[in-house]
């Protein structure tokens, strides 16, 4: 028997105008978690799509247990024991969680008939076994991004596969969920199985992987043993340069003007009396567990969702924001956490996506200035180091991280006074993250105000002047950067209603 579960070599793959992989190689051992890292657009997802039968390689050799295989399609890959969690969701929004997980493998009552009861029981059993909190009967479309990610994970684990590929499974998860996922992975790995794990979150590589393979610009760089290597070295291999910076920002002086004042914001579903102020030049971080309502706050402020009560003041004067267009006119921009559904026009080119919010800027009397649009797009492609053959490439052909950069560029082009970034670095590599942090800092320094929602606590701590913490639709506290740390943020983020009412009662009695 071979000592490699999976081995590939000499893999090439080109797209029109892009050589995504050249002479790529990789090997995965038994009972191993192999981390695969690289900058945005390095070719990680492409490699995994070759492995799971979605793309056909131009050339290359694939071996499983030392035997050469030619992967003929997704179904064949499944039969070979390969299952994959894609970087982008592949879920049926209208079906339930259980229906999604067992699509194509439904328990039947003989012949064509389905047994919904057995299906739900099977799913419930699976969730119990892998210790995930999901309702088998919930409609997937009603779930948050994080819960949907959990569905994807459960689905991948439900296959009795030997090679599990996870393409940025944690991009939408917070630390607690990441820990759960790591437990799942540890339970999964055995003498017969292995995991390929793609992530841009360097901190978790240490925790989960045995070895780390680094690729850059479609080429294989090196594989290192995790235990023997520092993250700085990995990053160096990845981006080919040092990444500096771990400074934490100072608080913004209280004398700075209040730009945005939100008072008593409530929504029918979740938000309960959310009030806060945002000062000029301030970066206000929003922390909280999945489903705490941070996204909902953002959507309510820009008018994407209806509010049931509460008021918003902009620069001291009350405003009514019925839809995001009004918000944008008032200089209030919102970058959504779900780039595929709510952020990008996948079929349109990079230029159109970047210019979408600012067409007024690029037009005179309704007539567009395409040249100016192109110039601006090119400028941001350089500035954010977006990896694309040209500004005329369709957004869908870009790697996930580069797509995210387009969405960010869109809001940087539009000159807003208040920007709400919801998970802005989702899927962005460490190097580019630093660049985006610098950009955000620059914006704040120019006097723009920023709300930054992030599930990565280090990121929140790294950037925010002040941190607002939410739990179950309520704001449970504010921390200045100086006083904030992971522990006290988590404490506030888990202060559920009972605790709060208890403490309220206590304070009322006092």
């Amino acid at each position: 028997m071979s000592n490699h579960l999976l081995r590939m070599s000499g893999v090439n793959k080109s797209f029109p105008g892009v050589k995504a992989l050249s002479e790529m190689q990789l090997d995965l051992g038994y009972n191993e978690v192999l981390a695969l890292v690289g900058e945005n657009g390095a070719g990680k997802s492409t490699l995994m799509k070759l492995l799971s039968g979605i793309y056909v390689p131009d050339s290359g050799k694939f071996e499983i247990d030392g035997e050469e295989v030619a992967i003929a399609g997704t179904k064949h890959a499944q039969e070979l024991g390969i299952s994959i969690i894609h970087q982008e969701f592949n879920l049926m929004q209208d079906l339930t969680v259980a229906q999604n997980i067992y699509i194509g493998r439904e328990p039947r009552l003989g012949g064509m008939f389905l047994s919904e009861r057995r299906l739900n029981r099977k799913a419930a059993f699976l969730f119990e076994k892998i210790n995930i909190d999901l309702d088998p009967k919930a409609r997937v479309g009603d779930l948050t991004v994080a819960k949907q990610q959990m569905v994807e994970i459960a689905k991948a684990l439900s296959y009795k596969s030997r090679i599990l590929i996870m393409d940025e499974p944690t991009a939408a998860l917070n630390d607690a969920e990441v820990a759960t996922l790591h437990d799942l992975i540890r339970n999964f790995t055995s003498e017969k199985t292995g995991v390929i794990y793609i992530s841009h979150r360097m901190d978790e590589l240490k925790a989960i992987s045995n070895r780390i393979s680094v690729i850059r610009d479609g080429e294989y760089i090196d594989t290192v043993n995790t235990a023997e290597t520092s993250m700085a070295e990995v990053i160096n291999l990845m981006v080919g340069r040092e990444i500096s910076g771990n400074q934490r920002p100072e608080a913004i002086p209280h004398t700075s003007d209040v730009v945005l004042k939100v008072t008593g914001l409530c929504t029918k579903d979740l938000l309960d009396n959310v009030s806060f102020e945002l000062r000029k030049g301030e970066i206000l971080g929003f922390a909280g567990l999945m489903g705490a309502g941070r996204t909902e706050v953002a959507r309510a402020i820009v008018g994407a969702d209806r509010i049931s009560s509460g008021s918003i003041e902009l620069n001291g004067s009350p405003v009514t924001i019925g839809n995001p267009a009004i918000a944008a006119n008032l200089g209030l921009g919102y970058l959504s956490e779900d780039r595929k559904h709510l952020g990008l026009m996948l079929e349109r080119d990079v230029k159109d996506n970047i210019a979408l919010s600012s067409l007024k800027m690029f037009s005179r009397m309704g007539v567009l200035d395409n040249r100016a649009m192109k110039a601006t797009a090119t400028e941001y492609i350089d500035k954010l180091r977006i990896k694309t053959p040209s500004s005329a490439q369709a957004a869908k052909n870009l790697s996930g991280g580069n797509q995210q950069k387009i969405v960010i560029a869109k809001w940087l082009v539009k000159d807003c006074d208040v920007l709400i970034f919801d998970e802005p670095t989702r899927g962005i590599d460490v190097g580019a993250k630093e660049e985006i942090y610098t950009l955000l800092n620059d914006l704040a320094a120019q006097g723009k105000s920023i709300i930054m929602i992030s599930s990565e606590l280090p990121e929140v701590l790294r950037l925010s002047h002040r941190i607002a913490v939410m739990c179950e639709g309520r704001l449970t506290g504010f921390l200045s950067n100086a006083e904030a740390n992971q522990a006290n943020i988590m404490a506030l983020a888990t202060q559920s209603t009972e605790d709060a009412t208890a403490s309220n009662r206590a304070s009322a009695q006092r």
């Binding site: 997704t74 179904k75 339930t96 699509i103």
Partner: protein, 320 residues
Amino acid sequence: MATRIRASFQQLLAFASLLALVVFFSVASENFYQAGNLSNILLSTVVTGLLALGTTFVIITGGIDLSIGTGMTLCSVMTAWFMTQLGLPMILGVLAGVAFGALIGSVNGFFVAVLKIPSFIATLAMMMVAAGLALVISGTKPIYTNEVPGFQKIFALGKSIPGLVIPNAVFILFAAAIIAGLILSKTVLGRYTYSIGSNEQATALSGVNVTKWTVLIYTLAGSFTGLAGVIATARLNSAQPAGGMGLELQAIAAVVIGGTSLQGGKGSIIGTVIGALIMSVLTNGLTLMSIPQEWQQVAVGVVIILAVYLDMMRRKKTAK
């Protein structure tokens, strides 16, 4: 559980729309709420209803089927042709008619799933081809089936349940609806119908043979078209080779009024049945009120908008 309750509540409310119309017309015209007239309404629902059943599947996959109107006409011609020219016994003729519908559906499915032609355009082309073939095969003449003993009685106008004025065609519609409902909610085919409509790519990536199932779904839909053709032939005791065009829009309207989303992924058979009934109650009621026909068209248009809008408002409320 919660979703199931919510779903049936919604249908209850669509049903309320229908009831509201019934009450309105009962008040507006004394002749409306009478056994004979209600049976008329049911009978006039049968063909559109059957077409709507089939197309519900197609619409839930996110597709559309414009070929059902003239496809029904072609099936009607074929049924009559099988029985009279080919001399098939009645029951075989009926089966052949249904099978021919399935064939039309499978060709549609082939275009959509294998050749990846958008369903709108594939079925639009089929609409034209079917209209032409119906005329070609019949020699542009009606084909009469009154020589086929019992055909009209068994498949359309006979009243099998003593004491009830409801003709057999209506029972066939309801039986077909029940079967369609079971297929949609209880079988693998039904599940994949929803799944493909929700996210075709994801379904394919999950290892479901989307091409095969899409062809099957269109084939199933086509067999309802075939059945509609059979019933239409039996009712008129003849196949009328011209016409049928326009029926597809009525059927689609019924499906959408019944709450099935044209985006795909959502829908139900009971909704479609209610939608079809709303359409025929409307036509019948307005005629009973002697509203001039040009105003009837206006009224139907307005009611369609209203029905769909109210349905949407309710959904929003119940979804909250």
